[in-house]
Each structure stands twice: as C-alpha cells, then as structure tokens.
Symmetry: C2
Subunit: 351 residues, 2 copies
C-alpha cells in the first residue's frame, strides 16, 4: 500500500520508503524523528541537542508541537513561520525565517508545511517552501494527513505541486480514503532517512536480516503492528482508484456548494473560498461581544442534539465554524437545513 501512496506523491521504491502507523500523530512523530536523525545524527545516542528548533505555519495540527515536546525539543523550540492572515505560509519568506534562526545560534531541524491546514482547509505553497528548504538544507515535512488524498484527483493535484520535493509526507488513509480509524502513512523521500529514524541494536538487526520479505518493524514507533495495509487495500480494491478519486472530488465540489450557499446569505460570512472539503464560516454578527461564546455554544448544542457535527477554528482572532464535508450523503438539501438551523439558533441565542 505504501508503494501505491509513494507513487501518488511522485516517489518510487526502493529510493523512497513508507510505513503505515496508527494515525497522523504518530506519522508526524516518525517524520520528525527522521528529520532529527538527519540534522543531528548523534541525537539517538547523545540526546536531543538544545539548539534544535522547528518552524511551523499558523494552524498546524497540535500533534506537531506535541511531537516536538515528546522528542525532547520542548514547546519553546516550535517557532512560527511568516504567514498571511489566513494562516498560509508566505513561501518567499521561509529562507529568511530559517536564516534568522541560524543566526540566533539555533538549528532548524524541520520546516512544516500544511496540505491542507486542519484549521482552514487551505494549502501551503509547497513548491516555494521546498525551494527554500533545499537551499538551506533543511528538512521539509508536509502534513498532508487530510489533504493528501487530493493527489488522486487530476483537477486538485495542482494544490500539492512541489510535494515531491519534500523530505517527508504524512497522509491519513482514514480521513479521505474511506478507511476506518486509524491508518496513516509516513512517506519518506530518501529511504535511508526512514531507516535512520529509529535505530536498533545489532542483536535485533541480526534477526531482522534472517527474515523473508519486507519487515519495517524497526522503522515504526509501535514495534509490532496491526494489519493496517489490508484495510486500506480492501477499500482501494473495492472502490478502485477512480472510485476514491471521484469521492474526493465530489466532496470538494460539495464543499464549494456549501461555500456558495453561505456566501449567498447575508447572515453568514465565509473565511475564504475553500480549497478542500473544509469550509470555515461564521454568523455575520458584526461586533457582537458574545460572538465567541455563541458560536461555541451553538456548535455544542447541535452536537448534543446529534444533528450536525461542526468543528471550530480560531483564525484572524475570530471563532469560525468548520464544516468537514465527508459524508457522500451531504448535499444541498442538508446544507440548507444546516444553515437554517444555525440562523435560528443564533437569533434565538440568549447566552
């Protein structure tokens, strides 16, 4: 399965390698382990050096900062990349951001790019970021946990242009490849970087050599594994690559429909034109001082009723509802119902 996923990124075994892990958090952790091994080959034996830092865009998934703390860098080592007001990395300023860290005596272990950002559904400019990272010899990790599946859709692939120049990619099968939770891939451009991520004792490797077939146990944080590839494969075999691509494309189009419907009502405002199946919008409540509380309370009420499951994001210092258009059944009629429900809830809100 990882070979198929590698090929979608534009990579081929044996030059490139991937492993399946239990979720995007472990995939990001594994990618950062590989990045740490590249930047600091002695870290596995000597510990994480104090000068190690990572650069992340606004709206990066919480698991990236968690990984930095788990790996011994500490949360203080997570520095922000220059972003526009929608939280997208300003690609032309990445080289300068790296330079700034290096001049301060720190060492950038990895730059993170979001494809797409879990908070907004918007894609970072991968090509510009990859160029900057290559020039500065810094590891580029693309967190495509949610948005990697757009690689299957010719019309959407352009959003991920440059991903093949990254060093590592996280891609969750349980997000848009219709696979049950958890099943994520961490894909690494240079195979040796994956093999260096987690080193083993000689005794262990000895036995590994004696085994037949590929055995990537020494490349995973988990050690023993469940049969993650099988459930991804069964979905692919049943629906076909075109079937999965049609699903992904269809959900992107449905998200655009929701966005157009939001924009057509003056009771709502949308954060931006969606690039994925995530749509951020809010009630157009002007300067309502209770805006934050109301948006959250309404989200919780809908969740409690079991009618609609909205997430929420904080962007431009404001609270947005975030709709993830996943279900094949979500259509215009359901979106109308959602927007009507939200309008009434907001107008009735007494909190």
């Amino acid at each position: 399965m990882t070979e198929w996923m590698l090929s979608k990124v534009g990579w081929q075994p044996p030059d490139s390698s991937g492993v399946l892990v239990h979720g995007g958090s472990l995939a990001n952790l594994t990618a950062l382990l590989a990045a740490r091994a590249r930047a600091f080959p002695s870290a596995w034996e000597q510990g994480t050096p104090a000068e190690a830092v990572i650069l992340v865009p606004a709206g990066t998934h919480v698991s990236v900062a968690r990984a930095a703390s788990i790996l011994g860098l500490g949360s203080r080592a997570v520095h922000p990349l220059p972003c526009d007001d929608l939280g997208r990395t300003r690609g032309e300023r990445v080289a300068e951001a790296i330079e700034l860290q290096h001049r301060a005596g720190r060492r950038v272990m990895a730059v993170i790019a979001n494809a797409c950002a879990p908070t907004t559904g918007l894609y970072d400019p991968l090509e510009a970021m990859a160029t900057a990272c290559r020039d500065k010899r810094v590891w580029l990790h693309v967190d495509a946990a949610h948005g990697g599946s757009a690689l299957l859709v010719p019309e959407l692939r352009t959003l991920l242009r440059g991903i093949e120049q990254a060093d590592s990619v996280t891609w969750d099968a349980h997000k848009m490849l219709r696979t049950s939770t958890l099943a994520a891939a961490v894909l690494i451009r240079r195979s040796e970087d994956l093999h260096h991520a987690l080193r083993q004792s000689a005794d262990y490797l000895f036995f590994n050599d004696a085994r037949t077939g590929p055995d990537l146990m020494h490349c995973t944080v988990e050690g023993s594994k469940a049969e993650l590839g099988l459930k991804i494969f069964l979905n692919l075999a049943w629906r076909g690559e075109q079937g999965l691509a049609a699903y992904v494309h269809g959900r992107h189009q449905a998200a655009r429909t929701l966005w157009r419907m939001v924009s057509a009502r003056n009771t709502f405002e949308a954060l931006s034109e969606p690039e994925s199946n995530l749509v951020c919008f809010r009630y157009a409540d002007g300067n309502d001082p209770h805006s934050e509380v109301r948006h959250i309370a309404i989200r919780d009420r809908l969740m409690g009723q079991g009618t609609f499951h909205l997430a929420s994001s904080l962007v431009r210092n404001r609270r947005w509802w975030r709709a993830t258009v996943m279900s094949p059944a979500s259509d215009q009629a359901i979106f109308t119902q959602l927007l009507d429900t939200l309008e009434i809830a907001y107008q009735e809100a007494s909190y």
Copy 2:
C-alpha cells in the same frame, strides 16, 4: 476496560488512570513521558535535560531504550541495573544504583522493572524495587506487557507482589488476554501524572471540557483512537474473567510441562525453572564453537518450514531457544514433537 485492569493491579479510579494504546512500545513510551514530566516538570516546554537517565535490568524490551532515544535522552542515558546471572534485578542494590547516578550529577528519571522479562520470562523483585524507588523518590515503571495477565490467577499473583507500589504499568491485552494485535494499557498510579504526560494548549482543553463522558485523547501519543477497549471487552465478556484466568494458568502449567520434558532429556539444558509461559532452553552442546550459529539456523529452518515458531534470547553469553506457550492446543504430544525435531536437526546440522 482500563478500570478493570487498574483494579487487577490494585488501583482505583479516579485516583489512578489508564489509557489504551496501540501496543506495548507506545505504552512504555507513554509511561516514560509521565516519568519525565514528574522528574522534570519543565521538560515539555524546555526540552529534555541532559542529566536525565533511566535504569534498566538486563533483558529489558528494546522499546524501553527506543523510548529513551525518542524522548531525547539518548541511548547513552540508559544505564544497567545490577542483575543476577539470569538477568533479574538485584532488588537490594537498586537504591545504591540510583545513588551512584545522582552522585555522578545525573538524575534518574525512571527505574524499569520487568514482569516478566521478555528474554527469559522471569519476574523482577517488584516489592524490593518499589521500596528503593520510593525511598529515593524515583519513578518505578513495571513493564508487565507479557506477564501482567498473571494478575488474574491467584496462584501466580504472588510473582507480581509490590506492583501496586509502582508508578506505572504496561500491560498488553494482545499478549495473554486473547485480544487481537494491538491493544495495550498504560496504567498510572496517580492520575495527575497521566494528565501531565502530554500537555495540551488551552484552546484544545477548552473544547475538551465541553465534551460529555471521559475523553483521554489528550493523554495518548496517538491522538484519535481506534476502539481498542471494545475488542478487549468482547474477549472478557465472552470468556469471563475466570475463563481468561484459566487460560493464563493453563499456559503456565503447560510451560512447566515443557520445562520438565526438556530437563528429562540429557540432550537439552533449560535456563531455569519457568515463572511464566516462556521457556528458555538449548541443545546441550558443551563447548561446540558453532553453537550460536546452529541454534539460530535451526530456529530459522523450523520457522521456514512453518512447523514451530521459536524465538531466541542471549543470556549468560549463550544463545537460547525461547518457546512461548500461547496456543491452547500446545500439549505434551506437541512438545515431544518439538524436542524430537530439534534433536534431529541439531544432530544433522552441518553448519
């Protein structure tokens, strides 16, 4: 499910807490994260300090040293505990070992105890180790991944005496609780230590507060989870606690049968009387200079034939076959077949 497992250790919620994770490696990693947070409360923000070390018995599972490297301590921070020649910790010397590290300017973040050791199936003296750790205010982690299930059997529970004085316990359900791979528990005596293991941003916690029911997502390395508790529960519901206990006890007794059969043949030698369902033995080949190679080659040949799946351990500088008596079908007839096969293979060996 974790509440049931906690109660078997001798702990109760809400004072104690546990989470299910994808395997013993992640359970050990999580326990060491909690230990790091206790010893170095600022590590999450400031990074892992260079003076952090852990003390481990011989034959500790490879995932413990891996966790030390992942967490930024480095493999140099993994120091051996004084052990007897079977690799069991000498409980009376643990306090002194801790003291030695502290006098050298290092800080012991955790002491590891094996219950049982994956290499030999023998149990460390938990009570003596717990006393030493309490006196020295050092975290005691018991890796009971394999051997924790003996807690269900009154006749075997004594092997784990003192486990309730530990700070954390790893217990795999997919080893002896008849649950499919992967399903492991990390159990923590003081709930607050689990909650400090992985800290979250305020924004994240805010939403957590709004949820109904227990949500331990912020206490797991994985983040989103699969329904691990369900598969443990279904086994427990179907077989009953007594059914599982009878299975564990039965496999221990079968292992003793194998050990007696090994001891009765002068062609074999056993490492020691087994304390679990692991039996280490070897061909009594005296000073055969090819002993190591032959033991491994025979193991690989049986594996290749698909007849018997033996593991192997290096103890007292010699290679031992390690039989894990798991299958309810393994009985005296099968053990006879195993020993006959090994005898013939060794006598025919030309390598």
